[in-house]
């Protein structure tokens, strides 16, 4: 059985994944993270479908979502999570390349918990990812039913 992880990270670009993992590595958060490559996989994970049929029970303590993804985009995933009574308590942070007002409005309307524009400068990027991971995955008390800290 695949162990459930505390952070679900949906991102299609492997470079972004790598850079993000670098940023998270300093705080030993990499073990807590499960990476999916598109929205569909993210939903499969959350609903324990497809490849994730056999994962253990429990919801992630945080979902990191890229907006632009193949198949199902980040906003759609957000919509489904926030409209599902079992999932909507999970904090969702959107990570995006640019500050598009349209996306910002749509995200907050769907109930996103944070909206973060990935800085171009790498040090800033690392700082931002760190902050997110620290705050949402460690400091923040996750809702009931989340996977506990190891």
């Amino acid at each position: 059985m695949i162990q459930p992880k505390r952070i679900l990270y949906a991102e299609d670009d492997p470079r972004d994944i790598e850079l993000t993992l670098v940023a998270l590595a300093d705080h030993k958060l990499t073990n807590e993270i499960v990476i999916v490559n598109d929205g569909e996989e993210a939903l499969d994970y959350l609903y324990k479908r497809g490849n994730f049929q056999k994962r253990g029970n429990g919801n992630p303590a945080l979902i990191l979502l890229d907006i632009k993804m193949p198949k199902v985009d980040g906003l759609e995933v957000l919509r489904q999570v926030k409209s599902d009574p079992d999932l909507k308590a999970i904090p969702v942070v959107i990570l995006t390349s640019s500050r598009e007002e349209k996306d910002l409005i749509a995200g907050y309307n769907l109930g996103v918990n944070a909206f973060v524009v990935k800085p171009v400068g790498f040090p800033n990027f690392v700082d931002a990812i760190k902050e997110i991971g620290l705050f949402w995955a460690l400091l923040n008390e996750p809702p009931v039913g989340s996977i506990p800290k190891q």
């Binding site: 670009d13 470079r15 972004d16 850079l19 670098v22 907006i67 632009k68 995006t96 390349s97 640019s98 500050r99 598009e100 349209k102 990935k118 800085p119 171009v120 400068g121 790498f122 040090p123 990027f125």
Partner: protein, 706 residues
């Protein structure tokens, strides 16, 4: 014409009223006068009757007075007694005869007789052949027994044809024994009849008569005016009740009407004569009384006739005068109408428009040639038509509204003779000529105008369609642009970020192995990618500015300058900048976010390009306001620019300075121009190389902008 009819009727009525009034007055006056005349005549009659009765009565009284005087004269009585005792006393006889004759003469007695108690005639004066009839004897006896004087009734004794009345005086002795009588015979023809017959006025028919009842008859006692030999000869039966004489003897008194002995209608007054069985009838022919009345009535008829004539003449003259006036007015109206028509004739020759003149109900009186030519009817046809026949079916008419109107202009659809429709503009008005209503209308063929209107409508419709089409296209391209910039922001930034990330990782990975040269290369790579990131950001913001919603609010430039200065306090720190800021910059309506960006850009440029100056001088002010616009400028004493390149100044990514000297992307002024353009304003600049630059922008005041 009804006007005329009522006019005549009016005068007819007036005439009849006047005639009726005259007739009524005449009748009243006639009857009144007739009654007055009759009344006067009757009073006259009555007065005469009274007079006569009184005269008769006093005449009788005189006679009795004569007798009493004689009877109570002791000398005379003694002398008479003595003579009766001694009839041979001649002297006495002579004296007594003398006395008798004297009295006879004085009192108009016909005969005087002295009778003894044996009814023998002892003395006689006058007519000698007198007999003493039994009636006389009876009266003598009556006088003797009553010891009173008797004046007998008129009588005609059988023995003679003469009519007498007797005055009988009884003679008494000392022993009251009747010794005899003195008898005076009175002939009524001497005094009584003339008295009765005389009439104080000159009347041809009036008369007085005495009557008495005699058994079943009425007896006329005197000679009548209109019939001879009537005294004691004329008798009329009492059954003849219309006879005034019969009425008299039957006790009627006063005024009576009837037919007299001739059978002629009369009016009379009946009076009984006191102490006698006589009745006096004073009468006059009705005809005579009515003569003046008839005359009067004839006079009245003449007068009435004359009055009628006068009334007729007056009414006729009045009518003629009115008629004349009416004709004069009619003539004036007619002339005016003719003038009007003439005027229309004149108009018709020169008017381009169609002209029609109608009566109140729309009958056409006059049309001009243009109208004839346009509608296709002949002039004669039109003059027999109602203007309504020119309307296309379903058109309502101003004539139906039945009000007077002045210069009403409207469009209508008319129909030509051939049935084709004719759109016209009608300018109509009512004309009031002394109460007679006309309508005039000027009609203009607006076929061409209608066609043009239709074309304009079509053009407008086409234009609208085109606008819709273009808007759709624009929206589509906007959509594309948006998705483009969306892609740019995501897809261009991501590789840059990766570049930065991996450069950083590379640097970390190499660590001490990284030589100085390689480090500089890495740094250059990193700088290039950062620069690209800034360019992309600026481009995106410029693109967004073009599409952002225009949000109008009050914009206070004073506040904006303050905000900008605060924002750039970092950059200006440690620099010697002399600020000259107009404390009363304008306040206008506009998009405050966009205009803030303009001020930020211009002030940032001024700060940036005056970097090399000490002191730098930056001036923010405004030019003289016009009613429509405000103009703000930002002036610096910086490096300025070459006016030859002014055209490039406001274009995207156009820079007049080397990046090495002054950083920047060349997007700021492009943004400024775009924002001011969206406000409907203008932007321009003046610069002198190495001396400074001034950037101006003007904005419309209170003008709707996008």
């Amino acid at each position: 014409m009804s006007h005329r009819l009522t006019f005549i009727q009016k005068f007819l009525v007036l005439f009849i009223v006047v005639c009726l009034f005259v007739m009524g007055f005449g009748c009243y006056y006639y009857l009144n006068q007739a009654a007055k005349i009759k009344q006067a005549e009757l009073i006259n009659l009555n007065v005469i009757a009274n007079l006569k009765v009184n005269q008769i009565a006093s005449w009788r009284q005189e006679r009795i007075g004569d007798a009493i005087q004689s009877m109570e004269n002791p000398l005379l009585v003694t002398a008479l007694n003595n003579y009766l005792a001694n009839p041979n006393n001649l002297e006495l006889k002579t004296n007594l005869i003398h006395w008798m004759q004297g009295l006879q003469k004085a009192s108009l007695y016909k005969v005087s007789i002295l009778l003894d108690d044996q009814y023998r005639v002892q003395l006689i004066a006058g007519d000698k052949g007198q007999q003493i009839e039994p009636e006389i004897k009876q009266n003598c006896l009556l006088a003797a027994t009553t010891k009173r004087i008797v004046l007998t009734d008129l009588n005609r004794l059988n023995s003679s044809s003469e009519i007498y009345m007797e005055l009988i005086i009884p003679l008494f002795s000392n022993h009251d024994k009747c010794r005899g009588w003195v008898i005076f015979k009175i002939d009524p023809a001497d005094f009584l009849y003339p008295l009765i017959q005389s009439w104080p006025t000159a009347s041809p028919s009036a008369e007085t008569l005495l009557v008495r009842k005699a058994g079943d008859f009425v007896l006329y006692l005197n000679e009548l005016r209109h019939q001879k030999n009537t005294a004691f000869n004329l008798k009329c039966p009492l059954t003849q009740t219309t006879l005034p004489a019969v009425m008299a003897v039957q006790g009627k008194e006063g005024l009576v009407e009837g037919n007299d002995y001739r059978g002629i209608p009369v009016i009379g007054v009946i009076k009984p004569v006191p102490d006698t069985p006589w009745y006096m009838v004073s009468k006059i022919d009705k005809a005579e009384i009515y003569i003046p009345i008839q005359r009067y009535s004839q006079f009245m008829i003449v007068v009435l006739f004359l009055l009628f004539l006068v009334a007729f003449a007056v009414v006729y003259l009045l009518w003629r005068q009115q008629e004349f006036q009416y004709r004069t007015e009619r003539l004036a109206v007619e002339q005016e109408k003719q003038a009007l028509i003439h005027h229309y004739d004149y108009l018709s020759k020169y008017a381009n428009d169609m002209v029609v003149l109608t009566r109140k109900e729309g009958q056409i009186i006059e049309v001009n040639d243009r109208l004839v030519a346009t509608y296709g009817y002949s002039r004669e046809e039109l003059l027999n038509m109602n203007v309504r026949e020119l309307y296309a079916p379903g058109q309502t008419s101003l004539l139906d509204i039945k009000i007077k109107y002045e210069g009403h202009v409207f469009e209508a659809i008319h129909q030509r003779k051939d049935g084709t429709m004719l759109p016209v503009e009608v300018s109509s008005r009512t004309i009031d000529r002394d109460g007679e209503i006309f309508h005039s209308a000027i009609l203009r063929d607006i076929t061409e105008r209608k066609k043009a209107e239709r074309e304009i409508r079509q053009l407008n419709q086409d234009l609208e369609n085109r606008v819709i089409e273009r808007t759709a296209q624009l929206e589509a391209s906007n959509q594309e642009l948006e998705s483009f910039s969306y892609s740019v922001s995501h897809d261009l930034r991501a590789p840059l970020r990766h570049l930065e990330g991996y450069l950083s990782l590379l640097k970390t990975n190499l660590g001490p192995q990284l030589d100085e040269k390689s480090a500089r290369y890495l740094e250059t790579l990193s700088g290039a990618s950062r620069k690209m990131a800034v360019l992309i950001d600026d481009l995106l913001s410029f693109s967004r500015m073009g599409r952002a919603e225009f949000q109008k609010s009050t914009v206070d430039f004073n506040q904006m300058v303050k905000t900008a200065l605060q924002e750039y306090s970092g950059e200006t720190k440690g620099r010697n900048i002399e600020w000259v800021i107009d404390p009363q910059l304008p306040i206008i309506q506009g998009d405050s976010g966009m205009l803030q960006l303009v001020m930020m850009n211009l002030i940032a440029n001024a700060i940036k390009f005056s970097r090399t100056r000490n002191p730098a001088k930056i001036e923010i002010g405004q030019l003289q306001k016009t009613p429509d616009t405000v103009t703000i400028y930002v002036k610096d004493n910086g490096v300025g620019f070459d006016m030859n390149y002014i055209n490039k100044l406001f274009n995207v990514f156009q820079r007049l300075h080397k990046t090495a000297d002054f950083e920047g992307t060349g997007i700021g002024l492009a943004n400024v121009r775009r924002i001011i353009g969206r406000h409907g304003g203008q932007v321009w600049a003046e610069g002198i190389l190495d001396q400074g630059a001034t950037f101006y922008f003007s904005l419309p005041i209170n003008k709707e902008t996008h």
